[in-house]
Amino acid sequence: MRKYILAVICLTTAYSAQAQFNLGMHQFTGVPQSTYTNPGILPQARFFIALPSVYVNYYNPTFVADDIIREVGDTASMLDFSKLYNENPGGTFGFNIEQQAELFHVGFRIKKKNFISFGAYQSLQTGVRLPVDLLRFVQEGSTSSYFQNNPVSLDGIDINIQSYVAYHIGFGRQFNEKWSGGLRVKFLNGLVGAGTEYSRGSLTMNMDSIRIASDFRYNTAGVQRLDNAFGFLGGDGIAGGFNVSEWFPSTGNTGMAFDLGVTYKPISKLIISASATDIGSINWQNSLLSFVSEEGEYVYRGGELGGADDGDPFAGIADSIQAAFNIQQIEGKAFTTQLNSRYIFSASYELLPNTFVGGIYSHNVFSGITYPAFTAFAQTKFWNLLFLRANYTVSSGTFDNLGGALAINLGPLQIFTVADNLMALADQGNVSSFNVRLGANLVFGMRKPRGKKNQDIDLD
């Protein structure tokens, strides 16, 4: 059972990690990974080697913890979905989780104006959308007054997963005192992909009958890898051997993506930048498997008893359902998934030496849905030892996203952490999004502090 739960968690964490803003890293040039939001902004280090780091992002635009947790007395809490389904009857709920693990990343400056980097990271993006009627069904049952007039909606069930390994190489250049730009090319090796092509259905359940209508198609690719890992399709699971090394050879599900960025420094203290990241897609064309049902309806009116040759009156239910929906596991058709593209526009002003304030507009387009976000930030550094930053982000109607970033250089060893929503720590019940990146780098040749000779566009 735990294997299935794990599998569901994997499947429900991602493809649409649509709201991974990660804006706390933007223009935080003391940390080399800042180039992930704009390859046109060159890092301060002349040479770096990224040590393994991890990035986790959670985003839930449909509810917060306080929507589903009710205090009982002074010390106890209890799950209660009533607010969720009463405020959005017939709607859906869901969440997105993104995970990224940097496998290796190396960058170095050439002739002061050019910066080349290359590396690889693994990314897992999941997204889950489920009908809130399911929550009402669990909490109130089929006898709920709501269900007297409405069936339990199974429409809009959307479970997406996209996991890939990106091999990237980037090039940035300081064109002149005002302009710089960069390009990162990513070669993508899709590991596991799954998406709901369409899903419609309903459930009516009362003493007279159970009526199920369903019509869905789920496309997957590479789920055998999950099966190998978790065994939910009958594989050996972990017991059969979970070997990470199997995940890196080409799976045949390849793609390509680009990150583009440019900065412009119209005056000495103002920097304007624009970037587009993760412009690309993965073509899933290998290890394809689709789960398809025909549009059908199954009605169960109870076992038929009383015949002369009654056997088990319930024995044929599974067959009947199968016949009604003709659920098949077929070899799927190739499909393409887009990466979660982001378009970031920012401006910063050096308010004090080495201290900047700025704003970021992030235009996130995921599956055709735009998730805009605006971030105001202020950052400073103390010599090249300590880098601090504070963010305030407004996104998806939430206004309490106060984040920060911290990087400490202990010699060549740099430890850093970035979080977009530190308020989540204080107001845990109203967290709709939270991301954090933790990692370490070996950085060399950090550029001199402001005041020294420095011709580059420099935000530190």
């Binding site: 913890a65 799950l79 049952g141 007279d208 009383g306 015949g307 845990q428």
Partner: protein, 700 residues
């Protein structure tokens, strides 16, 4: 200032603080350990089953099940091929017949004619006369010429012996006499002659014959009666007196050969003993009536035998061969009387068997007793003996007559009025299940039919005494009338068949079967010729009575509170875990003519009732006057395990469920009598609505 802050800001502490912030410190509200189980109580409706009970489907193919081909009504019919097989012996049997002994005594017999004679010449006589008379006669003989025959004064004339008789040695006569004839060859009239006849050895007088005035050359006869006398075959006769006046002056030739001839012969003699030559002779026929025995004073008129013998055993003490002629004029074969002859050797035992196979015995020829008797006529013939034979009139033939291997085809007669009791038998009906279901069932129209196959030609009346009893002492009798079994009209008729029926019109069978009885006591009586002699009875060698039983129990009944149910282990706390309320709904369309009530009784571990649910479950279909459902009835019933009752219900460890069935209650207070047909059906849609407490379903 910046420099100071940085310096005083311990980098390690900054790192730790950041880590702490990032890892988060959950508020109590969100700590998993503070979460309690949800208090959700969702309710779920489930269609459990659609029960479509068609009686036709429930009826298993069973030999006792009877579905009327015309109206499809249902009942039980069971048959017992032979519940009684009455042997012919119970009605009639031919007993072993005792031998009949008849003695034929020889009695007096006739003997052959016999005779003998002796001449007493004149010269022999003169020697036995007084000398003077003798000399006078001798002188006349010697004179050579006729001279007057001298007078013979009365005197004896001497004793003479007769030649021996060959027809017997010595005999005792019972009748008749001996004729003595005297031929007077003397030439003078004998005025008197007296003859004494005696056995020679030992001498004994047989008789005296007196003659007088027998002229010359004349004769005279006299008979000496011999009845009661024994006579030997050698006889003496003495002339005890002889006298003659002589010829006086008339010369008469005299010769010494002139003789007085004495002749004797039997006259109507019958011998009863002695040693004789027995002549062939016939005895008178003797008729013996054979009394054909019966076991119980049956009167038999005619027996047609398939097999059988009549045996004669004859012991003869008669010293000569006898031929017996046996005639049975009323025992015929092919219309001809059966006769036979038996040769009986002297002083021997002889057996003879006469077959009666295929014979018909008419036993009605005795006008005084025109039944059970038939005559056997025996006549005897003595064959002449080769020599002398000792006979005694008491010699006899002892004739013993007996029957063997009697096997009849047909017996006609009057077998009498007999009472034959049928032994009581107790049948344990094993109907305990009827008691278990409680209530009462009244079978309105049961029928028990006894199919009789009878080839005994006599009126037989059956009185069936049947009584149902319960353990508590209640009893109901069948109270059925006596009924006469069918019987064939004649011996050549096929066996008569027909039913004896017991039903609600002639008995209390419905009440008896509806008790229901624990045991059935069955007894009875068979009466043969209940009205006496009303006509000819008959049996054949394979006559019998077979009675088979056919019980027809149509499901035409009324019922009151008959209950089906069971008690099951029911750990409510476990079975109903999480359920705070439940409702079971029955949407019924009932085509059966029964109201059905559901009763659920919850019992705790001490078998004490903790909760009871009673609900009318199904309403009877509409029934017409004939008891047939014409329209089904639709009803909706909900059985509720109420929230308030759940605490008590959860104590239950056993569940008693009962289904009570009744036919409709009429205004009269009686229950409607209904009929069951195969097209009855019950459609029942079962739905369950349960409210569960999710928190109870979640494990710790």
């Amino acid at each position: 200032m910046k420099r100071f802050k940085v310096r005083t800001f311990n980098l390690l502490w900054v790192s730790l603080a950041a880590a702490t912030l990032l890892s988060g410190c959950l508020k109590d509200k969100y700590k998993p350990g503070n979460f309690i189980r949800p208090d959700w109580e969702p309710g779920f409706g489930l269609p459990l089953a659609t029960v479509n009970i068609k009686l036709a489907n429930l009826l298993e193919n069973d030999s006792t099940l009877n579905i009327d081909s015309l109206d499809q009504s249902v009942g039980i019919v069971f048959k017992v091929d032979t519940i009684a097989s009455q042997d012919l012996s119970d009605v009639f049997e031919v007993p072993a017949q005792a031998p009949t002994t008849t003695s034929l005594t020889l009695g007096a017999i006739e003997i052959n004619d016999f005779g003998t004679s002796e001449s007493v010449e004149l010269s022999d006589l003169t020697g036995n006369l007084d000398p003077a008379t003798g000399a006078a006669i001798d002188s006349g003989i010697n004179s050579g010429f006729p001279i007057p025959f001298p007078p013979i004064p009365e005197q004896s004339g001497g004793v003479y012996t007769l030649p021996a008789i060959t027809e017997f040695g010595q005999v005792l006569f019972s009748k008749g006499g001996l004729r003595i004839t005297i031929q007077n060859g003397y030439q003078t009239t004998l005025d008197s002659v007296v003859i004494e006849l005696s056995n020679s050895n030992p001498p004994s007088l047989l008789g005296v014959a007196r003659f007088g005035n027998i002229t010359a050359n004349d004769s005279a006869s006299q008979i000496i009666p011999l009845a009661g006398l024994t006579m030997q075959n050698t006889l003496d006769f003495g002339i005890t007196k002889i006298s003659s006046a002589g010829t006086g002056l008339v010369p008469a030739p005299m010769s010494d050969t002139d003789a007085l001839v004495l002749t004797i012969s039997g006259d109507s003699l019958e011998v009863i003993g002695g040693s004789v030559k027995i002549p062939s002779q016939e005895f008178d026929a003797d008729t013996t009536n054979i009394d054909f025995a019966t076991t119980d004073n049956e009167e038999i008129y005619t027996i047609e035998l398939a097999n059988g013998d009549i045996d004669f055993n004859i012991v003869s003490s008669i010293a000569t061969q006898i031929v017996l002629n046996i005639s049975m004029p009323t025992v015929t074969r092919g219309g001809n009387p059966i006769n036979d002859s038996i040769v009986i050797l002297p002083n021997a035992t002889t057996s003879e068997t006469i077959s009666l196979a295929g014979a018909t015995i008419d036993l009605t020829n005795d006008p005084n007793q025109p039944f059970n008797i038939f005559p056997v006529i025996i006549s005897a013939r003595l064959d002449s003996s080769v020599g002398l034979a000792l006979i005694d009139s008491s010699n006899r033939l002892d004739i013993t007559t007996s029957f063997g291997n009697i096997d009849f085809n047909t017996v006609l007669g009057y077998f009498g009025q007999k009472n034959i009791d049928i032994d009581e038998s107790i049948i344990d009906l094993n109907l305990s299940f009827l008691k278990d279901i409680g209530g009462s069932i009244f079978l309105a129209n049961p029928t028990i039919k006894l199919d009789v196959t009878n080839s005994i030609g006599a009126p037989i009346e059956l009185t069936l005494n049947m009584e149902g009893r319960t353990i508590d002492g209640q009893s109901v009798g069948l109270n059925a009338p006596a009924q006469v079994l069918p019987f064939p009209a004649s011996p050549n008729s096929p066996p008569a068949t027909g039913p004896l029926q017991y039903d609600r019109n002639n008995s209390q069978l419905p009440a008896l079967l509806s008790m229901p009885p624990d045991t059935l006591i069955s007894a009875g009586r068979i009466v043969l010729n209940p009205q006496g002699n009303q006509g000819l009875n008959f049996v054949t060698n394979n006559s019998s009575i077979f009675i088979s039983l056919e019980a027809d129990l149509p499901f035409e009944l009324s019922a009151s509170d008959i209950a089906f149910g069971d008690t099951i282990e029911f750990n409510a706390a476990e079975e109903l875990n999480g359920i705070v309320e439940a409702k079971m709904r029955f949407r019924n369309t009932n085509g059966f003519p029964f109201d059905m009530d559901l009763e659920l009784i919850f019992l705790d571990n001490m078998a004490a009732e903790v909760h009871r649910i009673s609900a009318p479950l199904v309403l009877s279909g509409q029934v017409d006057a004939t008891g047939r459902v014409t329209n089904p009835t639709t009803s909706l019933t909900e059985v509720l395990l109420a929230r308030a009752a759940m605490p008590e219900i959860l104590k239950a460890e056993q569940l008693v469920f009962r289904l009570r069935m009744s036919t409709s209650l009429l205004p009269s207070g009686d229950r409607q009598v209904v009929k069951i047909y195969t097209d009855y059906d019950l459609q029942m849609k079962l739905g369950l609505e349960a409210t569960v407490r999710v928190g109870d379903l979640i494990g710790n």
